[in-house]
Symmetry: C2
Subunit: 345 residues, 2 copies
């Protein structure tokens, strides 16, 4: 096996490191006036609103470097922030990146992380405008702030859902969670073996959803092309059930979704069977799907279903009806932020 | 001794905790359209430029909770970000706050931290628009992003210093560093004693500079009142010498400062003597002063010295002359980012 080159961070120092990692960054957006290299970045959002979101990712809590390659981690760290901006019906434009780094990491490690960050920024048209690194006592800390823009009349909040609105989702659910279970299992099986070569054939989709998720820029464009402004929208990071409850709470409504309409990939279904986990629990509560959950008026039904990858899974109700799911056998179950009543008993 | 009340964070959960910490936040700024509670904050910067800066603070690296009260830590975490915005000649308007929290911390601990944050925001007219907490395996992680505004023609970068410009500073230098040395010494002396009551009489200024620094909003106002736009500006976080080198490097100039003109408080001087540390090294390289370092054209000399607390410490030179300091005995010493040549030998 070839030894990877390892250069200690101390050889560059903090300022040298940031300079090295951020050199040759070219601005892609008009709104980026000044990026890395001063006390603050300078942006210009003329007739648009400015959106700001931030995410903190901690080693051992949010990611496990035993099986997450640093390049993928860089990509994912950026994309989960973009996803929050799309969820407001906006476009991500800039990110700032702060890293806390222990001595375990080399310059080559950070180059890989930045390669992932840069790739994500390339794909989504985002500029890296601020970088900051500092020593850390323990592991890797990643803090990313994303700034984006939206037209004033197009911003979508969580609180705009109205009775009879359709509940729509993009993509499918539960795959990222099953990907995580798979990685955790292989980690245990191969613990201690340095030539870690687990067999992942036929499960690539699950791994991709866990390790290299994408944000639904495409759905935001399809909505815009059809002049559809959802009444409420979120991205699904904590789980479909939990996010749906946020929309219902903030919009003061109830909802009904239908088990049979929740989109699930066959790889997710087959892994859930292998692991003997309830499939619908996985889809409702797995999280990290980074799909869009949104509501539109009933009158837009015929139009919204023409968007590739979008499905209607239920509707918004009067708040007195609560938030519930109709199962395949017609039973009604209350939605919970984590798991169902019936499973928690 | 009265026992402090301790409520476990688990009793509220992540969403409950954020709601609890950020309730009753009222927006102070027109540019804040939507704060905490959605996928992203929504801001509106009409005819101004938007400034963005971010800081990551890690327990054990940037702060020691043995002697830093959480309320002070909250205050300082916010202020160091405001300082970066003032350093661009802007006004801080919003912050987002991400915390990584280990089980060691209680709800009451976080309430104290937020009390400090809120106080700083009150004093400086800033809105808290985003909050995020997550579990941490080890200690406290604080990531704050500050968004501010500036008039297009008033933004000051690091790269605008020109030959013969005057080098000006606010306040005095080295006090925060001596405050830290003092706290570290008392920590060692009292290690193991639970009734930690060190004697700090006559050294209050040093402690205040370390534990509760202020950003120089007042200087930015005084400059604006006199229609002075500095040619270059930074805030002094890493040390006067290091920041001056940044300005010289980015402006492609040299500089000469005069040892006798560097403002130093008498408490700093007396502590340096007590610790047997070279006073000028402390003032040049101590860091965490959060004072402003800026350059103005020579023609503004008579005006700039009327600003309370501002002193001219030298001038910008041709790059061929390098960056140097003239000592009290007339010797010329090259400025280094950390320590001097003469001390490093």
């Amino acid at each position: 096996m070839e030894e990877k080159k390892r250069t200690e961070i101390a050889t560059l120092g903090e300022f040298g490191l940031i300079k090295h990692l951020t050199e040759n960054l070219e601005s892609k957006n008009e709104s980026t006036l000044k990026g890395v290299g001063d006390d603050a970045a300078v942006l210009e959002y003329k007739d648009k609103k400015t959106l700001v979101t931030t995410d903190l990712l901690l080693e051992g809590v949010h990611f496990d470097l035993t099986y997450v390659p640093l390049k993928h981690l860089g990509y994912k760290s950026a994309v989960v922030n973009f996803s929050d901006i799309y969820a407001m019906n906006g476009q991500p434009k800039q990110i700032t990146v702060s890293l806390g780094i222990s001595k375990r990491f080399s310059i080559e490690d950070l180059e890989e992380f930045y390669a992932g960050l840069r790739l994500a920024c390339e794909v989504y048209g985002v500029d890296i405008v601020g970088g900051d690194t500092s020593a850390s006592m323990t592991g890797l800390t990643i803090s990313i702030t994303c700034i984006g823009e939206a037209d004033t009349d197009k911003i979508v909040y969580r609180n705009g859902a109205r009775e009879n609105d359709l509940i729509c989702v993009s993509g499918d659910f539960g795959a990222a969670y099953m990907g995580l279970q798979l990685l955790e299992r292989e980690k245990k099986v191969f613990a201690g073996e340095s030539d870690f070569q687990p067999a992942f054939e036929g499960k690539e989709y699950l791994l991709e959803r866990q390790l290299k998720p994408e944000a639904r820029k495409d759905i935001i464009k399809e909505l815009s092309d059809r002049n559809i402004v959802p009444t409420a929208m979120m991205d699904v990071s904590d789980g479909l059930s939990s996010e749906l409850l946020h929309i219902c709470n903030q919009s003061h409504t109830g909802c009904r979704i239908y088990e049979e309409r929740i989109p699930i990939d066959y790889q997710t279904a087959s892994m859930a069977e292998e692991f003997n986990i309830n499939l619908v629990t996985v889809a409702l509560n797995g999280g990290e799907d980074y799909e869009l959950l949104f509501t539109v008026p009933l009158t837009l039904h015929d139009e919204v279903i023409t968007i590739p990858g979008v499905r209607v899974i239920g509707h918004i109700t009067n708040p007195s009806l609560g938030a519930g799911m109709i199962t395949r056998d017609g039973t009604e179950i209350a939605l919970k932020a984590q798991g169902w009543n019936s499973l928690n008993d």
